[in-house]
């Protein structure tokens, strides 16, 4: 008699097991339909984790199907559905990359949550036969002055470093964003990149009935029991102890051995398929690999090595113990596999065989305790239809957490001192240097790091070739809160633009969609609009979406997070010698602005600084212009016309110029035509704009090239001196004298060293960390 039946007989007792496991009555009916009978308790537990949002994508699957996934013509070797996307880069090599969230575990236990997040995404990479070569961490927290936030930032950063540093994969980039909406629900999204020989590409499949199923890596304990279903899918509240399953603890040393052993197994052709164990543990790894190959598996539970005595069958089946892998191996190669594992000191056990019946069958002490069609757990899992409805009021809302009364009046358009605004922006927690964070990461191990964290996209040379990979992550959540389509499209535009600024060609996009409770029509609308924006932007830019991750239910009792479409991009530079950086390179170089500002301050850092969002909405995005701007940048770099390139993003044109000046250690004397208002032209964040510097002899050719791409171009001035001087001219610079005072905006005139000082110290001050130790300049 199953628990389900017992509950039905005594309705007054505790809620039925399926509901306690997070399975709705509707879902239970769907499970019955697939099995043709009632599930037993163990099977129910397996369904509960496999049909969780986290594993099944039951809310997002139909949306994700609309994304462009590319083809062999785009070089795509493996796309969504595999552990990571893989794209060919020539020379027989390919790059694997993927981004994933570990938001809820990090909220509970920041160090271990972040550490195991890194461990999990790395396994997705080396499972495919790729050696992990880089990590990027995209982090979002609440108010930096809050004690709990500081605790989380400290723990998460230590966790990312604690794991990545130990396994020897450099952390080369990421993001750190503060917004009150993340107060109860921080975001920890981690992207990993790997490099593989294309011939070694390995898929997460279990082909060939009769093949052995081998589990290797750490022993199985009670880690994260219920983690997948409860931690990752139910709304998180701090005070509900029942939703605090045992925390998973990461062991980066074990992972390092797992990387070496797995790559050796693949290199020697010893495995037919390989899958890491993540959420839902053995249940997920067995059913997904079998389902992909159209096979089944017979698993002997007693063969699974355990860390703890007395574990129940369901615990072994859904445990999320870290650092484990599942290999499908031909019987005659079992001994070799065992030898490799033994040499790396890794426990290894044959736990079953591949079968032809399509079922996951589990025996314990000789009795069959589970028989479920693999498809029912994975490809044929339930799909939910949710209602999507835009919010009733779609007028641009005040920035969350900001006082909303008279928001537009708070914007210091009138009589503002642009120099003071620029300084405030550079020292703000949003834009200040992230050095105190990324210095806790090893960013140079593996000797590939040409450009590490700190100045735009990361650049990694590919040994044995002239090539380099360029990577970045980006998400525009504030605009996404106002217009989720635009937020997602802007995120793609900015991430790809960051890559194009180096002269590299973006290869593909991975994404992590961090949204709220999909049963709320507004949250589901945000998600569907974001997926539409992601797809539209990628189609416009001609890029495949090769994979990603969806994290829903990012809500705390205080409310939902800003919808956050995290975008990861990898690009290819054919010749690393042609790399273009963002720093002003030489005195007397001409400074040009390609693209033009459009009005709209909502969602900008300037609006945040001013304490409210403008009433005018966010600036628009013209995807075709974005494509042309990036194509121009690559062409200009390829022809060797550029001395530096930098896109205009957070903090607007003034911040972009200040960064180029600080990073180059040299000033500039510039004049900016104000077409709209000083705030829009200096600090607005309208997209598709880049600052290009060039030797004077190349300036004319650059202007011509820009016009050939149909892009507006304007000469701003020249590099030189040790001050950043920006004068404003044009109609908008004066305005109505009676309203704005005689001088609308004084020129900016600040020593570059002062800008740098403000920028370097802003974050440590905001977090109350000890003064950041400034590293020697250069690099």
């Amino acid at each position: 008699m199953t628990m389900v039946e017992r509950s039905a007989e005594s309705p007054a007792a505790a809620p039925p097991l399926h509901r306690a496991l997070g399975i709705t009555d509707h879902e239970l009916a769907a499970i019955r339909a697939r099995l043709g009978r009632d599930p037993n308790d163990v099977e129910l537990a397996m369904f509960s984790v496999m049909w969780s949002e986290h594993c099944s994508y039951k809310s997002s699957k139909p949306l994700l199907r609309t994304l462009p996934t590319g083809s062999a013509a785009d070089g795509v070797v493996a796309g969504p559905g595999e552990n990571a996307g893989v794209i060919s880069i020539g020379d027989g090599l390919a790059v694997a990359f993927k981004i994933e969230s570990h938001n809820h575990p990090s909220a509970v236990e920041p160090y271990q949550g972040a550490a195991t997040g890194v461990g999990g995404i790395l396994r997705d990479i080396f499972t495919m036969g790729a050696r992990p070569i880089a990590v990027l961490d995209a982090l979002r927290f609440g108010d930096p002055s809050d004690t709990r936030t500081r605790h989380l930032v400290d723990g998460v950063v230590r966790g990312v470093g604690g794991y990545g540093n130990c396994v020897g994969v450099p952390t080369v980039g990421g993001e750190l964003v503060f917004d009150p909406s993340y107060q109860g629900n921080p975001l920890v999204n981690v992207m990993a990149i790997g490099l593989l020989e294309e011939r070694l590409l390995t898929l997460a499949q279990a082909p060939g009935p009769g093949n052995l199923v081998i589990l290797f890596g750490s022993a199985t304990g009670r880690d994260g029991i219920g983690g997948a279903s409860v931690l990752a899918s139910a709304t998180f509240t701090h005070d509900d102890p029942s939703k605090r399953p045992s925390v998973q603890v990461g062991d980066p040393f074990a992972e390092k051995l797992l990387i070496e052993a797995s790559l050796e197994l693949i290199e020697r052709g010893l495995v037919e398929g390989l899958q890491d164990l993540g959420a839902a543990g053995i249940t997920c790894a067995t059913s997904e690999t079998a389902d992909r190959a159209g096979t089944g598996m017979a698993i002997d539970l007693d063969a699974v090595p355990r860390r703890e005595p007395g574990m129940a069958a369901f615990e072994v089946l859904i445990s999320e113990s870290q650092e484990r892998m599942l290999a499908v191996v031909r019987p005659e190669r079992e001994a070799d596999v065992r030898e490799v594992c033994a040499r790396w000191g890794i426990p290894c056990a044959t736990i079953g065989t591949v079968t032809g019946d399509g079922d996951i069958a589990v025996t314990e002490a000789g009795h069959e305790i589970v028989r479920i069609p693999a498809a029912a757990l994975t490809s044929d899992a339930i799909v939910l239809q949710h209602l999507a409805a835009p919010p009733a009021r779609r007028r641009p809302a005040p920035a969350p957490g900001a006082p909303d009364a008279g928001a537009s009046d708070r914007l210091p358009e009138r009589g503002m001192d642009p120099g003071a605004v620029l300084t405030a922006l550079l020292g703000s927690p949003a834009l200040a240097s992230r050095r105190p964070v990324f210095e806790q990461y090893d960013s140079t191990v593996q000797v590939n790091t040409v450009v590490g964290p700190g100045h735009g996209a990361a650049v990694l040379r590919v040994k044995g070739t002239t090539k380099a990979l360029v990577a970045t992550t980006d998400a525009n959540a504030p605009v996404g809160a106002i217009d989720p389509w635009l937020g997602a499209a802007l995120s793609v535009a900015e991430a790809t633009r960051n890559v194009s600024m180096t002269g590299a060609r973006p290869l593909g996009v991975t994404n992590c969609l961090n949204y709220g409770d999909p049963t709320r029509p507004e949250a589901f609308w945000q998600l569907s609009e974001a997926v539409r924006g992601l797809g539209d932007a990628c189609r416009a830019l001609g890029l495949p979406v090769t994979g990603g991750n969806v994290s829903l239910n990012n809500e705390s009792p205080a409310g939902a997070i800003l919808p956050t479409p995290e975008i990861g991009v990898v690009g290819l530079l054919d010749d690393v010698e042609g790399l273009v950086g963002p720093a002003f390179a030489a005195d007397d170089d001409a400074v040009l602005l390609v693209g033009e500002a459009s009005p709209g301050l909502a969602g900008s850092e300037y609006a945040r600084l001013a304490g409210g969002a403008a009433e005018d909405g966010p600036p628009p995005l013209d995807l075709d212009r974005e494509r042309r701007v990036q194509a121009f940048a690559r062409e200009a770099a390829g022809r060797g016309l550029t001395a530096s390139m930098q896109d205009v993003s957070g903090g607007g044109l003034a911040v972009a110029l200040a960064e180029s000046a600080m990073w180059g250690g040299r000033g500039a004397t510039l004049r900016i035509a104000v077409a709209h208002s000083p705030a829009v032209d200096l600090f607005g964040e309208s997209p598709s704009r880049i600052v290009v510097t060039a030797q004077p002899r190349h300036a004319a050719a650059l202007q011509l090239l820009a016009r050939q791409f149909g892009l507006p171009v304007e000469t701003l001035g020249v590099v030189g001196g040790d001050r950043l001087v920006i004068e404003l001219h044009g109609a908008g610079a004066t305005g109505a004298v009676e309203e704005r005072g005689s001088r609308v905006a004084d020129p900016i005139d600040i020593a570059v060293a002062d800008l740098a000082h403000t920028w370097e110290h802003g974050l440590a001050r905001a977090l109350d960390w000890e003064a950041p130790a400034a590293a020697p300049e250069g690099r």
Partner: protein, 97 residues
């Protein structure tokens, strides 16, 4: 006049929680030619002096410290050990070692 109590706080991974350090130590025993050692758990020990009117008050302070700062209640458990007490106000550093 308050008394100075020297306490030790022992923090260890909770039973069932993975202890990678303990595992690494176990794995290295063979190299040391040591046999018969099992169940190694690696934790922290913090020794400190607290000035208070009586042992109960001192214990309350140490317990708060252990709970909020020295241990992570999700994955670690702690125990207190009283190492000694001196009624003077001179330092009790090192007592109990």
């Amino acid at each position: 006049m308050s008394i100075e109590y020297r306490f030790a706080v022992n923090v260890l991974p909770k039973p069932g929680i993975l202890d990678p350090q303990g595992r690494a130590v176990e794995g290295s025993l063979a190299h040391l030619a040591i046999e018969g050692v099992t169940a190694v758990r690696v934790g922290r020990r913090v020794e400190l002096t607290v000035a208070a009117d009586d042992e109960g008050a001192a214990r309350t302070v140490v317990e708060q410290l252990a709970r909020e700062l020295l241990s992570n209640p999700l994955i670690e458990a702690f125990g207190l050990e009283l190492l000694g007490a001196t009624s003077s106000t001179t330092s009790a550093t090192g007592a109990g070692r």
